[in-house]
Amino acid sequence: MLRLSTCVRWATSSAAALAFLAAGCAHQGGDELATLELSMIVTEPSGAIMVAIFDSAESYNGGGSPVRGARVRLSSETATTVFKGLPPGSYAVRAFHDQNGDGTLNTNPLGALLEPFAFSNNAIVQYGPPAFEDAALTLKPGANSDTLRFSL
């Protein structure tokens, strides 16, 4: 009834990419560059949030690595993280709430997601992840922000 296979591919590629980037990336400065402040709202303050930022549909769909990633530890239902030094342009964010802190997006044996997740631009999930265009944010030079609301 549900096209779970799409979720499976998504879960697998994004979990692997996030694990790879869990160590974090160095921030860069520059006036012509963009800053993205992500506010994150979760349902319970456990574990951490794993965030990945993609600059193309190809990489977003699993065909490449994110340009940035972060692991944000949680001490309350809200958290903020800032990505500096991004060239202005279109970016889409995939993130999940690693409630049990095991570093991976837990799934059931059929690949259905068992931990809350969120996409940028309040993109809605229907059967599978939203398209890059639906989740994309257009980052201007200077300050930009978005809010990720995690749900399952």
Partner: protein, 484 residues
């Protein structure tokens, strides 16, 4: 354990090849049996004795589930199977008989109530643009069957989790997580309970050639599970359990290209015949496949094993898929499919790898047995059937019967063309082999839902007692008897 949708005018429909006979009711109003149930439910209310007298010794509650909400804001569900689960209860407390009903408070129902539209996808309904569908339970209608587990009712669908329901006030507990890592796994509407209380079920991985097997302790905790590859992506609604085997008949109604809703992705391929996959209960890797001629089915009956290893099971088998995408919609509009009803059959799977079918000429659906003979050799099977005159409805059943495989005898009560019969459940009384049949019906003339108690050994004598519910209910699917 933790909790957690164009009206087809008769003639126009014929031109599209759907072979529909004339509508029995106006297409501008919902036909009886397919109308929305009571939105706020029905509190416990005495049922009126219409006929007969209270059978001595009958004490307990009949709980039944079935789709009960099909229309919102001009939308009509795409398929009968997509209506919200409405749990109904009939309680025999020794003094009187009371009735209650309540919708299962699912995520789907909440979202659609808020939207004032039908927006969530299902077996045969498409998702509205923007409908939030991230997991199986987002669309869970909890509308097909009930299981009694450890002082709780489980309202069952077939592509998601069981929904916990309180057996006293019929309030909703929520979707159940049977084990953290198995959340959102499909749990079918036809679990089989072993004589020792062990609960076995399958879950069909909709969209893929896989099933998940569940073995639960009597308290609902998971004892063992496994993901099994199927040789073909058949739609499986019901299955069979023998003392040592789990049996999955794989009809040639198979998923090909996936394009939701699910039922529209199924193709009928009679040329590939029926396969029956038999799995060892003790070792899921031990499997065998039997071949049989083409057929389509929703429901099977109980299975037993003979001393030489032959497995026999009851089976309500049709020539072609009933309630496909077209039928599932037209039944809600009161338009009757002229497809032949399923017939009572019995399969034999022999140790030499051959398989055979005994066929009766009796239409039959919802096969039941005396549960004391579960997994044991016995000769009588109970079911609903079509009477001498078909019902004047898009629904096909208006009779109840027993069939004796040893003697070929059929004992039938025909309610006539103006009364529809839901699934008849067998309630044991002492001694073994004797019991009652509880038969819910919907009277088209009186616009009333009734519950009839039959002596299972003398069905043609007619009901021992008939009780009337406070209002007409939509037609239900499956139920469970919980003795007091």
């Amino acid at each position: 354990m933790t909790t957690r949708r164009e009206v087809l005018a008769g003639a126009a429909a014929l031109t599209v090849g759907s072979a529909l006979s004339p509508a029995w009711s106006s297409t501008s109003s919902a036909p009886l049996g397919f109308q929305n149930g009571p939105q706020q439910g029905t509190p416990w209310t005495s049922m009126r004795l219409m006929e007969g007298r209270m059978p001595s010794g009958l004490a307990g509650t009949l709980y039944r589930n079935g789709p009960g909400h099909f229309r919102r804001g001009g939308d009509v569900a795409g398929h009968w199977f997509d209506g919200d689960g409405l749990v109904r209860a009939v309680r025999f407390d020794g003094e009187g008989v009371r009735f209650a009903a309540r919708f299962v408070d699912t995520n789907k129902r909440r979202l659609e109530t808020e939207a004032g539209r039908l927006i969530m996808p299902g077996f045969g309904s498409k998702a509205a643009p923007g409908a939030p569908v991230t997991s199986a339970d987002d669309t869970n209608a909890a509308n097909t069957a009930l299981l009694s587990v450890d002082d709780q009712l489980w309202a069952l669908w077939e592509a998601g989790s069981p929904y916990g329901v309180n057996p006293e006030d019929l309030s909703t507990v929520g979707p159940l997580v049977l084990r953290d890592d198995l959340a959102q796994m499909p749990f079918s509407a036809h679990p089989k309970v072993s004589p020792d209380g062990t609960i076995w079920n399958f879950g069909l991985a909709f969209g893929r050639s896989k099933v998940f097997l569940w073995m639960l302790n009597a308290d609902g905790s998971v004892q063992r599970s496994g993901l099994i590859d199927l040789p073909r992506a058949s739609y499986i609604h019901d299955w069979v359990m023998s003392p040592t085997k789990l049996i999955l008949p794989l009809q040639p109604w198979v998923l090909e290209e996936v394009h939701p809703p699910y039922v529209q992705s199924l193709r009928w391929r009679p040329e590939i015949g029926m396969q029956v996959l038999v799995i060892d209960k003790d070792d899921f890797s031990k499997r065998r496949i039997y071949e049989l001629p083409s057929g389509s089915f929703f429901h099977t009956g109980d299975a037993y094993e003979e001393p030489d290893g032959t497995i026999r099971f009851d089976w309500c088998l049709a020539e072609e898929p009933m309630l496909n995408a077209e039928d599932g919609r037209s039944i809600l509009l009161g338009q009757r499919s002229d497809k032949a009803n399923p017939m009572m059959c019995r399969a034999a799977l022999r140790p030499d790898g051959s398989a055979a079918l005994d066929r009766t000429s009796f239409s039959a659906e919802f096969a039941q047995i005396d549960p004391r003979y579960r997994s044991r050799r016995r000769s009588v099977v109970y079911s609903v059937s079509e009477g001498a005159s078909p019902p004047q409805s898009s629904y096909h059943h208006n009779a109840v019967q027993s069939i004796n495989w040893e003697t070929g005898a059929r004992d039938l009560f025909d309610f006539g063309a103006r009364t529809l019969t839901e699934e008849a459940l067998y309630v044991p009384r002492e001694p073994a082999g004797e019991g009652w049949l509880l038969v819910p019906t919907l009277s088209l003339d009186d616009e009333a839902t009734d519950l009839h108690v039959f002596n299972a050994e003398a069905i043609s004598d007619g009901p021992l007692a008939t009780y009337r519910a406070p209002s007409a209910m939509p037609l239900g699917f499956h139920g469970v008897w919980v003795p007091r």
